[in-house]
């Protein structure tokens, strides 16, 4: 495999990982909650695309447009029902609340749609473009482009809108933000919902590429955890770079030592980072959870 192809694959994979990781890190940055149910929302996104395609013959990229408001509502509701009461409690309570949510969502999918792996096959599934000696899969290319667009949109939202500023203020110091008259509860709800929108969109984008089943979220969310910790929990720009790094490790690892062991590589990278520099490569955020 030539260098160009490795680079291309890294970039395509990294773009999608980034979208998953950005939502996770946003939620952590503002709410100080690690969302262990993140992968299940990804899975729901995949199922949404699958059912829209097989029942309504809707193109997954059309579904995407519907999925954004849909997942915002889903996020808003799940925040109100499950997360709101535990935002100010201990880490353990939060961890097990999101774990419980993940178990529930996973098994709702299992009961409704069985454990069978399903495949969403568009007519352009195998279509590919060849640029500069590298082959770009069409579905991957579109997924990458949309993921980058959404991520850029999120960054712009955080940077330039009032709500984004309020979210960043809450992330920096929730008490000071509350004292400035910011309704932090509303900020948390929006943050959670926006994070869910990101991962739901990622799910829709991944559905045409990967098999869809109730536990499909796990493999991607593990990668997101790695990226998020690598970039510094809560650091959005860091997560973006880290997602590409993780994708590079995966792509180069699969090429050099084979696909069977590629997960071990990024898990070891993850453990290494946690042990050596748990604040991440770039950030200092979340340092209060680290002890010394």
């Amino acid at each position: 495999m030539p260098l160009a192809q490795l680079l291309a694959s890294t970039l395509l994979l990294g773009g999608i990982y980034a979208l998953i990781a950005v939502g996770l890190t946003l939620i952590f940055g503002v709410m100080r909650v690690v969302n262990f149910a993140h992968g299940e929302f990804l899975m729901l996104g995949m199922y949404l695309a699958f059912w829209a395609f097989s029942l309504l013959h809707a193109d997954p990229y059309l579904t995407l447009v519907v999925s954004l408001p849909l997942f915002f509502v889903l996020g808003w509701v799940s925040y109100g029902a499950v997360m709101r009461p535990v935002v100010h409690t201990s880490h353990n309570v939060q961890v097990f609340t999101t774990v419980g949510l993940s178990i529930v969502l996973q098994n709702v999918a299992l009961v409704l749609w069985t454990a069978d792996a399903r495949f969403l096959r568009t007519d352009y599934y195998a279509a590919a473009v060849r640029v500069a000696g590298a082959v770009f899969n069409w579905a991957q290319l579109v997924a990458f482009a949309v993921a980058v667009l959404l991520t850029a949109g999120l960054f712009a939202f955080m940077r330039w809108t009032y709500t984004g500023k309020v979210m960043r203020a809450t992330a920096q110091d929730r008490q000071a933000a509350a004292l400035m008259g910011i309704d932090t509860n509303r900020v948390y709800a929006i943050t959670w919902a926006v994070g869910i929108v990101c991962v739901g969109a990622a799910g829709v984008l991944l559905a045409p590429i990967y098999p869809v089943y109730p536990t499909a979220g796990l493999q991607f969310v593990l990668i997101a955890y790695v990226s998020v910790v690598l970039g510094g929990l809560g650091d959005m720009a860091g997560a973006l770079i880290a997602a590409v790094v993780v994708a590079a490790v995966e792509v180069i690892g699969s090429y050099v030592i084979g696909t069977a062991w590629k997960e071990v590589l990024y898990l070891l990278l993850f453990i290494g980072i946690l042990v050596v520099r748990p604040a991440g490569l770039f950030g200092q955020r979340g340092a209060e959870a680290l002890g010394s």
């Binding site: 952590f28 909650v33 690690v34 499950v82 009461p85 535990v86 409690t89 880490h91 353990n92 309570v93 939060q94 961890v95 097990f96 609340t97 774990v99 419980g100 949510l101 993940s102 178990i103 529930v104 996973q106 098994n107 709702v108 299992l110 009961v111 069985t114 454990a115 796990l218 593990l222 955890y225 910790v229 929990l233 069977a260 062991w261 997960e263 071990v264 898990l267 070891l268 993850f270 453990i271 946690l274 042990v275 748990p278 979340g286 959870a289 680290l290 002890g291 010394s292």
Partner: protein, 323 residues
């Protein structure tokens, strides 16, 4: 001694059941209640008493299960020795994990433990030459006590009961000893404990290590009882959650709590499996949905768990009765 009375009742009743009950289904349920209770109690040593909440304990359980199964299939060694070897390997793994991750707190620690168990899952399912890979290992059944080839479920109840009592005693030690108090201090406020000269890091590593070894013993016995080791089950995050769940429902950092939690959860599971098992495998998920909802509700409304809730009830009644 009054504090330990419910535990004595629990274990004595469990020990007497096989004398009166012959029904294989009920005995089977009891074996699982005790195995999952013992595993949750072993988890509790780290998660409850030391505050090292792990979602990677399936790593140790799996190591124990694999040690017993591999020694029995590859070298025809008695599973009792496999159990010891499993405990030793898990001790080493626990030392490594405990040492590497002991600076981490809260969600970071949870993530690190998940990562470790995932590494073992990949090793277990991909290292075909050694572990038989993703097909898993059927554990051979060789009749006899020394080979743990016991068809009589009553004997199994007593074997796992013995293990449960041993782990319960370890928990009791942590409730009444100097080390136990130090560990509680570390859990509640590590910096304060350190400033008083409590060797916080060493204690945390020790707690993880002991917890790991005990969990591995549970895994080894489980493998012998069930007769099949599947890497995707024994190293799964779901299994780790199961240990934590029973301990949390029963009461974090209480000696009997994990057993009560397991009694509740395992009974519910057995009942619902019997109800829905025949209709379609997908309906098994209903049990897990209930399980997730219980988890969310318990941590929100009764974070002190069943034992804590009962204790306050009893105390309140005693107080009103006296007044």
């Amino acid at each position: 001694m009054r504090r330990g009375a419910p535990a004595v009742v629990f274990f004595v009743v469990a020990g007497l059941v096989p004398l009166f009950v012959r029904d294989a289904f009920l005995l089977d349920a009891l074996v699982f209640i005790l195995i999952w209770g013992a595993s949750a109690a072993a988890w509790n040593v780290a998660g409850g008493y030391a505050g090292q909440v792990s979602l990677g304990h399936s790593a140790f359980f799996g190591v124990g299960a694999y040690a017993a199964a591999l020694l029995a299939t590859r070298w025809q060694v008695s599973p009792w020795l496999g159990l010891v070897v499993g405990a030793l390997v898990a001790t080493i793994v626990g030392l490594v994990i405990g040492y590497l991750s002991n600076r981490l707190r809260g969600p970071y620690f949870v993530l690190a433990t998940i990562a470790f168990s995932q590494v073992l899952l990949i090793v277990g399912s991909r290292w075909r030459g050694f572990t038989a890979g993703s097909e898993g290992i059927p554990v051979p059944f060789r009749p006899g006590f020394w080979t743990l080839g016991i068809a009589d479920k009553r004997v199994w109840v007593w074997i796992v009961l013995a293990l449960a009592v041993i782990i319960y005693l370890v928990e009791l030690y942590l409730e009444g000893s100097r080390r136990g108090y130090q560990l509680a201090a570390v859990r509640e406020d590590e910096d304060a404990a350190l400033s008083l000269g409590v060797p916080a890091r060493a204690l945390k590593v020790a707690a993880i290590t002991v917890s790991a070894a005990l969990t591995a013993v549970c895994g080894a016995l489980w493998a012998q009882y069930v007769g099949f080791v599947d890497p995707f089950y024994v190293f799964s995050v779901d299994l780790s959650v199961r240990f934590a769940l029973a301990a949390i429902i029963g009461g974090l950092g209480t000696a009997l709590g994990p057993f009560l939690g397991s009694l509740l959860v395992t009974t519910l599971e057995t009942y619902l499996r019997a109800q829905f098992g025949g209709i379609g495998a997908g309906l098994i998920g209903i049990y897990l949905i209930i399980y997730g909802v219980i988890l969310i509700l318990v941590v929100r409304f009764v974070p002190e768990g069943l034992t804590g809730w009962l204790a306050t009830r009893v105390a309140r009644r005693a107080a009103t009765g006296a007044g």
